[in-house]
């Protein structure tokens, strides 16, 4: 079956090249038949990539160890779900997933818009064709998942830390996000290449951007939960290069989703929006380069591989292409109106954009710094957590504040008197919350106190907005359904508040304790009493591996009651891994978190964390999804407006 997989990929490559070349010629010369043919090539390319994916998926689930990839990433004892997870557990499989998602998205996007945006779609096809050509070339010539070998008795298996339900969903979710950003990029490039830079490309791609942004955001929350539960270092986000790689395009896309509203309402920021779309896409490819190349050390990245250079070339080419295109079309992207006041909704969006992009570029600098020091100094210097934490506060706290102020400022301009009047309830709420928090002991951390106070301010503004809007329209349902994007956005803001409260609570207000305990000994941390009862040790032997499984049985009393386990697996084949013990106090949204660090004679060294409000982070993920769904819910009025504009213009 490997032959079928290889052949399907060759077909995908051929179709991608055709979509690029024929699509480019058709767009330049205006030949409709050739353009239709190129568009069909892109759609059929999805079909052939599905065939290749089914072949690989079947090989993984059936444990067909004649496939080198299946032997390297699965084993007989792996169930079908984790066997399928191996699809994106290795480099070749994840490249195939990139191509599958890209061509799937492309097939839908060009089919949906082929009539209304025909003049743009003819240019979109060669742009997506170019991206698909790169990925299919990599899969055919550089890193094929269809390499074969003599059948072996058993495979190497999947790394234990990847055998987690969150890892089933996290990588595909990130890919849906990364790859999804190709579509707005292709439409923006299509608008620039065709010279038709009116609002249509924005309306056509807004939902694509929202889908990609939602997947990228939720994917990161899933990844954080995986790290928290499985990696066992006591945290959920470590500013790891690969984690940052997903955060950067998300920040750029967040900036775009805000600034695009200014273009739609005022015809402003037209160059800036093109830059943000290109930046989001460029960063998603750059993120893939970081993950694949092995140029930076990360727990997530694949081993050093030969594909890094190819990706770097693609990143450079994409950047040059986007920059040249935007510069070429600057005369078509002039703003149609001006910013009337620095105290207006438009200005608030602009400040939000500046903070988001500055934060994104700060992270980018932290990412490339090790690479630059390697090139220019011969050794790799990395930038640590304090750097990122510092800039998170510098940019994150003002962003949080702006999230509250922005919605309450009027469009065009607001007088100071009106602003003070509008903001009085949120300000009173924030001040009262701040004072109460100081009395509750939250004053031990200034950034934490500021984060909590700003969060209460934002929640109060959302409440004020909903109350006033409902009064003005007469119904909450009417209010939300008339502007789903705005009110879906407010729910997303509420999720960011939950996230901020969860991060502040579980980081600056957490309690940690390292202690070695012998069986029968206890320790009390923040009201939780933990007794180490005994150690359970078992040896698990398979045909290719031997694993020593050690589990400490713990008894809880005080603030929580019950038993919990924390342990360590020492595999001869896959190395050590940890199983952390987590007891959740749902009332406080708090976790009692225990790591089995090592043994010292009959004692076990435990790392204990009490993490207040950490569960709000996971709750934030679901609220974020809800808000995103409301914001992206199809709105027939937009499509009708577009049709009406075109038919009026052609009258």
């Amino acid at each position: 079956m490997a032959d079928l997989g290889r052949a399907a990929l060759v077909v995908s490559f051929g179709l991608s090249v055709y979509a690029l070349v024929a699509g480019g010629v058709a767009a330049a010369t205006g030949q409709r038949r050739l353009a239709d043919s190129a568009r069909r090539a892109l759609i059929v390319c999805f079909g052939s990539t599905v065939v290749a994916s089914v072949v690989l998926g079947a090989a993984l689930v059936r444990h067909d160890f004649t496939f080198t990839y299946a032997a390297a990433h699965t084993s007989r004892d792996l169930n079908w779900m984790y066997s399928l997870t191996a699809f994106w557990g290795g480099q070749e499989g994840s490249l195939l997933l990139w191509l599958l998602v890209l061509t799937g998205y492309a097939a839908i996007a060009v089919s949906l818009n082929r009539k209304l945006l025909q003049d743009l779609v003819v240019w979109v096809v060669p742009v997506i064709g170019a991206i698909a050509t790169f990925f299919s070339f990599m899969l055919v010539a550089v890193s094929s998942p269809f390499g074969t070998q003599q059948r072996v008795v058993d495979g190497a298996g999947l790394v234990p830390s990847l055998q987690n339900p969150y890892m089933v969903a996290h990588p595909p979710m990130l890919y849906l996000g990364y790859v999804g950003l190709s579509i707005p990029f292709a439409f923006a490039a299509g608008a620039l290449l065709s010279g038709h830079t009116d609002e249509r490309w924005i309306i056509a791609t807004r939902r694509w951007t929202l889908v990609a942004w939602m997947c990228l955001g939720f994917g990161q929350i899933l990844g954080s939960h995986w790290a928290y539960e499985e990696v066992g270092w006591g945290g959920y986000f470590a500013w790891d290069p690969v984690e940052n790689a997903a955060l950067m395009p998300w920040l750029a896309a967040t900036a775009f989703l805000h600034s695009v509203m200014i273009q739609e309402r005022k015809g402003m920021l037209r160059v800036w929006n093109m830059v943000l779309v290109a930046l989001s896409f460029g960063l998603s490819v750059f993120g893939t380069f970081l993950t694949r190349s092995g140029v930076v050390n990360s727990i997530h990245s694949f081993a050093k591989s030969s594909i890094g250079g190819w990706f770097l070339g693609f990143v450079v080419l994409t950047t040059l292409f986007s920059t040249a295109l935007i510069i070429w079309r600057i005369p078509l992207l002039k703003a149609r109106t001006k910013l009337e006041s620095p105290l207006s909704r438009e200005a608030a969006f602009l400040y939000n954009n500046l903070f988001l992009v500055a934060f994104c570029l700060t992270i980018f600098w932290g990412e490339i710094f090790p690479i630059l020091t390697q090139i220019f100094q011969g050794h790799q210097s990395t930038i640590g957590r304090p750097y990122y934490d510092f800039f998170l506060r510098i940019f994150g706290l003002p962003l949080l504040l702006l999230m509250g102020i922005g919605p309450l400022i009027a469009w065009r301009r607001t007088s100071t008197r009106a602003l003070v009047k509008t903001l009085r309830w949120p300000i009173i709420t924030a001040v009262v919350s701040g004072v109460l928090l100081v009395f509750a002991g939250a004053g031990s951390s200034t950034p934490g106190l500021v984060a909590y106070t700003f969060s209460s301010f934002v929640l109060a503004t959302i409440a004020v907005e909903l109350v006033r809007g409902t009064r003005a329209t007469g119904s909450l349902f009417e209010l939300v359904s008339r502007n789903r994007r705005r009110y879906g956005g407010y729910i997303v803001h509420a999720s960011i508040v939950l996230l901020a409260v969860g991060i502040a609570g579980s980081s600056v207000y957490q309690t940690t304790r390292d202690i070695a305990l012998a069986p029968g000994q206890s320790v009390t941390v923040n009201g939780y009493t933990m007794k180490y009862v005994r150690l359970q040790q078992t040896q698990e032997i398979s045909q290719t591996d031997s694993t020593l499984v050690r589990k400490a049985v713990l008894e809880l009393s005080g603030r929580a009651h019950g038993t919990m386990l924390t342990g360590q697996n020492l595999s001869t084949q896959l190395g050590p891994s940890r199983e952390v013990g987590i007891h959740t106090n749902w009332l406080r949204a708090e976790d009692f978190y225990v790591i089995f660090d090592s043994t010292q004679g009959n004692k076990v060294l435990f790392q204990i964390f009490v993490k207040p409000l950490v569960n709000l982070i996971w709750l934030a993920g679901f609220v974020f999804l809800l808000g995103s769904f409301i914001a992206m819910w199809p709105d027939g009025r937009e499509q009708r407006r577009l049709v009406a504009r075109l038919s009026l213009a052609r009258t």
């Binding site: 399907a8 077909v11 179709l15 759609i43 059929v44 038709h196 009116d198 309402r265 009027a410 009106a418």
Partner: protein, 101 residues
């Protein structure tokens, strides 16, 4: 062998699907339906009109929700209405000229 046969079928189907537009009637070879310069100008004017009408709508809503005081509202609504009238006039003028379509 079966794999290669299936691969061959996939390749042939791909070629056929891509070739379909060339097998249709000659009428399908019309030029791509993009806006002419005149239509593009009209589209720009329609967008301009919609920006101003949208701004008026936003102003009304901001006033009703208390973000704009009565005094500010009175100062802002007049110029916006004038801009809306100008945008509509400019569009009407453009609608009189032919689109070349």
């Amino acid at each position: 062998m079966t794999s290669l046969i299936i691969a061959g079928v996939v390749a042939v189907m791909a070629v056929v699907a891509v070739a379909v537009p060339f097998l249709g009637a000659a009428g399908n070879d019309a030029a791509i339906d993009g806006p002419t310069a005149a239509v593009a100008r009209r589209l720009a004017l329609i967008e301009q009109r919609d920006y101003v009408l949208g701004a008026l709508k936003d102003l009304e809503f901001d006033h009703r929700t208390g973000k704009v005081t009565d005094e500010d509202y009175r100062g802002l609504v007049g110029p916006l209405r004038r801009q809306a009238a100008e945008a509509i006039q400019a569009l009407d003028a453009a609608m009189q000229s032919p689109t070349e379509e």
